[in-house]
């Protein structure tokens, strides 16, 4: 899926930041504990889930785990948009806005 740089008639491409938390960073080839923030530029109308699939395409290890067969995506990966937890799959259909911040955190409970 290529939504990253395309502009549409409706408007300019929008920029969002994606912050990856904790051990999910390993899926992105990042071994340390320091911050991992990815910047993405997408078309207007792109949903949170669209963005996640774009990221999954770019980072196959994340994609294979998060979108594995029989895997509830939200079990693997919690999604927080602008400081609000998106707890239902339907929430991931929300359209992104310019400047949105998305946090990806392990959905796995423990401890």
């Amino acid at each position: 899926m290529d939504l990253t740089t395309r502009k549409t008639k409706e408007g300019q491409a929008i920029k969002v930041t994606v912050e990856v938390m904790s051990w999910l960073k390993e899926d992105f080839g990042h071994q340390g504990w320091d911050k991992l923030v990815i910047e993405e530029t997408v078309s207007p109308g792109t949903s949170v889930m669209d963005l996640l699939r774009v990221i999954a395409d770019k980072h196959p290890r994340f994609g294979q785990k998060a979108f594995a067969k029989n895997q509830d995506f939200l079990d693997y990966c919690a999604v927080i948009r602008n400081g609000t937890f998106l707890s239902a799959l339907a929430d991931l259909n929300t359209e992104l806005q310019d400047g949105d911040n998305i946090k990806l955190s392990p959905g796995f409970y423990g401890g």
Binding site: K25, D27, W33, F85, G107, G110
Partner: protein
């Protein structure tokens, strides 16, 4: 009998007697072992109306049918007793080696009754069982006790497993636990206080020759590998690779990290506590349980800050959370010290941290002053004051004597607005180390539970088998109730097989295969699931008779308050609570008013005798 020693060790401390009691296959098929067997003993032998400290209370410590096999996580133990916080039934587990060593010494379980007039410890070895004098161990912490017993009996580190109480258990602190194998804990609901009331300081089991027989050892070997392979991938393999050491930053991001006694959900210093930083920095080394290949359990040395040089166990996530954000302090080295201090004193970290966080909030708001606290300035994050306060609690000194009763009783005694700042359930048990305002299913579970801690665990491998909502919205009241009710029993299966959740992930199907390979019983998955539900219902009936009635199934005001910030600030559970309970009771097959399982529920589970 395959998979079992066929024996339980009975100990009467009042009479100073030990004897063997035969275990029959029919009983084990009905209850499996561990928690199930312990609940059966408690139900049959302990009047629910007695106090937890009555010598007639029993202390059950058991392995299960997989104990002593190479299945990972099966050297764990389950403790069942009438606990001190709720004065009701308790089921709490510890990992380590004791479960395997116990079975190799010839017993599936130990049942202790009565109370000794002098301090004793129990020593199991290849040649028999001894009740030994423990007067010289009184006052020693749990690590010192482990060292002292091994030294006097001539055992090296891993050739013996010791579980003991610390000063807190000796002094009947209501949230004392038992600790062994370097910090593993069966900590919930004051089981250490029960042992203290019996003047039993420790259990010590030598690593004897394994003479256990299993029906299909080759199959057990295959299944051991399968469990390990699942652990390498479940949840991204994080537990296998990192234990719980990387949970904290994600917990903060998702809004279920307890911060400052639930006054906020924001903890900007979260990444300092990330295991990817801490493990290399603090020279962490793996210290695995018997037959476990994961990197869950480690020992470490603090290398920076004022506590550099301190050696202890790596805190679990809940301990990091307790001694970092919950008391609002930001030095991971100090969290290691506080966490190990609590373990060594022999207290449950969860309840201890709710107590300390509440004291700090009371201090900040003026409800408790320096002079009330024996001169301690309990400001947020004050590590040295916290260390002193913890000792005061363990030894019941000064205001520590009040706090040793647990946060519910201490808050109710202080009264006023301070009651609304304390985190507890109506039954008196402690929530785990999370902010459950961001984990509704665990708030429901903790509040209705009859184990004194969690009763179920929604993270199961076989979601369809347990009819879990999939995908699930964790803030949808109906789905939360379904998840809780439908998966009820899954944890009791694990705790009756006595397999560590971090290796089993409640994979009931593979567990059933392992059970059959060990015992030859050829039980179906459905039969095994029914055992889990049977145990839950038996616990429920016992606790109702003990007075833990449905009106007490309420979270405290702070526990179910609305978060003021963080990602879940617009998700209060309180408006949904009563309807959630209505639905839960319906799904469980329980009477909404009395809490009792309905006759058809009991009959379905083979508990016809309880129908009146």
């Amino acid at each position: 009998m395959y998979g079992s020693t066929g024996k339980v060790l009975r100990v009467d401390l009042s009479q100073g007697k030990v004897w063997d009691e035969a275990l029959d296959e029919a009983t084990l098929r009905k209850y499996l072992g561990g928690t199930g067997l312990g609940v059966k003993y408690l139900f049959e032998e302990v009047d629910p109306k007695i106090e937890w400290s009555d010598p007639k209370n029993i202390f059950f410590l058991g392995s299960g049918p997989l104990g002593g096999t190479r299945i990972p996580g099966c050297a764990s133990i389950s403790v069942v007793t009438k606990g001190a916080l709720t004065n009701g039934l308790t089921s709490t587990q510890a990992n380590g080696n004791f479960g395997a060593y116990l079975k190799w010494c010839g017993y599936d379980a130990i049942v202790v009754q009565g109370a000794s007039s002098t301090w004793k410890y129990l020593y199991l070895h290849e040649g028999g069982v001894e009740l030994r004098d423990a007067s010289h161990l009184v006052g020693k912490d749990t690590w010192e006790t482990e060292d002292a017993i091994k030294e006097e009996l001539g055992y090296k580190e891993r050739t013996m497993s010791v579980f003991s109480i610390g000063p807190a258990g000796e002094n009947l602190v209501r949230f004392a636990g038992i600790f062994g194998d370097r910090g593993h804990a069966a900590a919930h609901n004051g089981v250490g206080a029960v042992l203290g009331s019996k003047k039993l300081k420790a259990f010590a089991a030598a690593r004897a020759t394994n003479k256990l027989q299993f029906v299909d050892p080759e199959k057990l070997g295959e299944l051991a590998k399968k469990f390990t392979e699942v652990a390498k991938t479940f949840g991204g393999g994080t537990v296998f690779n990192w234990g719980t050491s990387r949970v904290l930053p994600g917990a903060e991001a998702a809004g279920w990290l307890p911060v400052k006694n639930y006054l906020t959900n924001l903890f900007p210093q979260k990444d300092l506590f990330d295991g990817a930083r801490i493990r290399p920095l603090f020279q962490s080394k793996n210290y695995p349980c018997y037959a476990c290949a994961s990197h869950h359990y480690e020992l470490m040395t603090v290398t920076e800050g004022p506590y550099a040089g301190y050696f202890g166990k790596e805190p679990e996530y809940e301990q990091w959370a307790a001694w970092g954000p919950q008391i609002y302090q930001t030095d991971p080295g100090a969290a290691v010290v506080l966490s190990n201090t609590v373990d060594r004193l022999g207290m449950d970290t969860n309840e201890a941290s709710w107590v300390v966080g509440w004291v700090m909030e009371c201090y900040e708001k003026g409800a408790l002053k320096k002079e009330d606290l024996d001169g301690l300035e309990m400001t947020w994050g004050n590590v040295e004051a916290t260390l002193e306060l913890l000792k005061n609690i363990a030894y019941r000194r000064g205001y520590g004597d009040t706090l040793a009763e647990g946060v519910k009783r201490a808050a109710e005694k202080l009264g006023g607005e301070a009651v609304n700042w304390a985190i507890f359930t109506g039954k008196g048990n402690s929530p785990r180390g999370h902010d459950h305002r961001g984990r509704w299913v665990e708030m429901l579970d903790t509040t209705v539970s009859d184990t004194g801690t969690l009763q179920t665990q929604m993270l199961v491998v076989n979601k369809d088998l347990w009819k879990m909502p999939n995908p699930m919205d964790v803030f949808d009241p109906d789905q939360v109730v379904q998840a809780e009710a439908n998966s009820t029993g899954s944890l009791e299966v694990s705790d009756s097989l006595v397999q560590c959740w971090f290796t089993s992930f409640n994979d009931t199907e593979t567990q059933t295969e392992a059970l059959n390979a060990a015992t030859g019983w050829n039980m179906s998955v459905e039969e095994v699931m029914k055992v889990g539900k049977r145990i839950v219902n038996l616990m429920r009936v016992y606790n109702l008779r003990a007075g833990l009635t449905p009106d007490r199934e309420k979270p405290s005001a702070r526990y179910c308050s609305q978060s003021v910030d963080g990602p879940n600030k617009d998700k209060p559970i309180a408006p949904h609570w009563e309807k959630m309970l209505d639905k839960y009771y319906q799904l469980m097959g329980w009477d909404r008013k009395t809490g009792m399982p309905l006759p058809e529920t009991l009959k379905e589970l083979g508990l016809e005798d309880l129908v009146k």
